[in-house]
Amino acid sequence: MQHLPILPILFPMLAAVFMLLPPLCKSTERQRVFAVTMMIIIVITSVLLLLTSHQEGTQMYILGGWQPPFGIALVADRLSTMMVLLTSVLSLGALLYACAGDDKTGMYFHPLFMFQVMGINGAFLTGDIFNLFVFFEILLIASYALLIHGGGKQKTKANVHYVILNLVGSSIFLFALGILYGTIGSLNIADMASKVRLLGEHEQSLAKVGGLLLLVVFSLKAAMLPLNFWLPKTYAVASAPVAALFAIMTKVGIYSILRVHTVIFGEDAGALASIAIPWLWPLAILTLIIGAIGVLASPNLRLTVANLVIISVGTLLIALAMQRESATSAALYYMLHTTLVTGALFLIADLISKQRGQAEDRYVVSRKITHGKILGIAFFISALTVVGMPPLSGFLGKVLILQAAEGFTEIAWVWPVILIAGVASLIAISRAGTTIFWRYSKESTNSEPIHPMKIMAVVLLLSASPLLVVFGGPVTDFTHQAAVQLHDTAQSVDALIPGGNK
């Protein structure tokens, strides 16, 4: 189908618009049915898109028929379609959870949710760096409103910090784009990749400034040290389905670093090759360390999960910094696993906190948790996965990343840091589990029922983990091919601009 690549952007946009209009805008029930149906359609579209781009090669969608590099193009290669599918599955889980009642605590939940999905999908699919900025703004403005969904002092406070930081980030993004357009003369990613090696000496230093400014912006989104201090509080106060959806937001930053600093400023960029790597190495390792400290210091489950997000960001950035196909492939596998599992953990943390009355999800002795069995099993599985114990996907992802470092001098840094961070999260999460499930002062008095839809959402997200192991072979094959495609700059430039790669 010719129009397939744009559908993951169009469907959520139209869904959001329809939900703002009658007859859907008045009734939450109708909105729920419509939103879930649309989300299932988006998941199916993403699967189709992924299969098409896998079998028939990179799909281009040239908007308005203006040939690149002059017009706007969407590029659906293996990496971007994989990320779109990941977003859709995660959003379906978060949406199912929200439909069990959380969407009623504020207004316009469903339209905002769809706009956010639209922004995320657009950021993954665009082949143009200015459109990357536009889609960033779409997903950000939806996330500003979603973050404050439900209201309350804590949310307002976290939202003020989040909004101000991201607005400054957007300004820096635009400065970087101005510099890059002024020097390279193009905003199309493939075109920039082919032109960046032809720059003169004066322009090189300017383009380097632009490239590194982009790294600053993306690391703010990805929560790389020293720009990660906003993340734990923000994610911990957001309502559960929103926090689960936000699990993909840091990955948008990682994806952008991967795209810009592998394709434009990759190994073939002449004097500007790999400008980000000297910064990425130390910062990635420090991010991992501060994530591990944060996990150990967290006083409640939600903060623990938010710090686990930082650990996963650190791990991914280390894999990115290795700049090899094997490492990128491992990072992609780990990204699939960590996004879905942290999303599920945010949902589980919310379920647990609803069962414990006043104590919520803090690590204190309180009354016995009702529905302990089902919540315990869900928590146990997700804990095993997120810490990286065999036999689930976390283990496989970490092994792949560790393997990618084998045989290089980096091994001396990578192995100890990743393994010690693993131990730290193991300690923190076992403390969380024992306090919440086993230490109680009295039997539970009232039992709040758990909505079956919430269980379904958690099961949907958690089932990804064993599936990623069972189908480990095909999935790693796919991530490897995606990594090869990403690192092969010549091929991706040729696909967009025939003969442009001279």
Binding site: I141, K153, T156, Y181
Partner: protein, 121 residues
């Protein structure tokens, strides 16, 4: 022309960053606005400054790059929307927290906060 232009962008950016780092939401909003002005001017200049150059071919002897103008337009629209949002958010935050400090309350204790208020203007 280039020197004055660059000077203006530089001054606006410096003021913007200084104000963004202040403690009260009002100054922060002013700072964000200045930053967006600076960035719009900067983007506009990324197509090089030219006098008497129309953006449409055939209208004048020299032509200027039309793309930065399109980019600036997009950036202005987005910046405007974001400013509107942050103003509302700042008011909401003032109402929710009872204070217009970005952290919800000034970091110092009560007796010192008056002095801090005077310093912050």
């Amino acid at each position: 022309m280039e020197a004055i232009y660059a000077f203006c962008v530089g001054i606006l950016t410096t003021c913007g960053f200084f104000l963004v780092l202040r403690g009260r939401t009002f100054t922060v909003v002013i700072g964000l606005t200045m930053l967006s002005y600076a960035v719009n001017l900067f983007l506009f200049a990324s197509g090089r400054l030219k006098v008497d150059g129309a953006a449409v071919l055939g209208q004048s002897a020299e032509y200027s790059d039309p793309l930065p103008q399109a980019l600036v337009l997009t950036a202005i629209v987005i910046g405007f929307a974001m400013t509107a949002f942050v103003v509302i958010l700042a008011m909401r935050s003032r109402a929710d927290q009872g204070d217009d400090h970005v952290d919800g309350q000034a970091p110092s204790s009560n007796s010192e906060s008056n002095a801090a208020d005077k310093r912050n203007g």
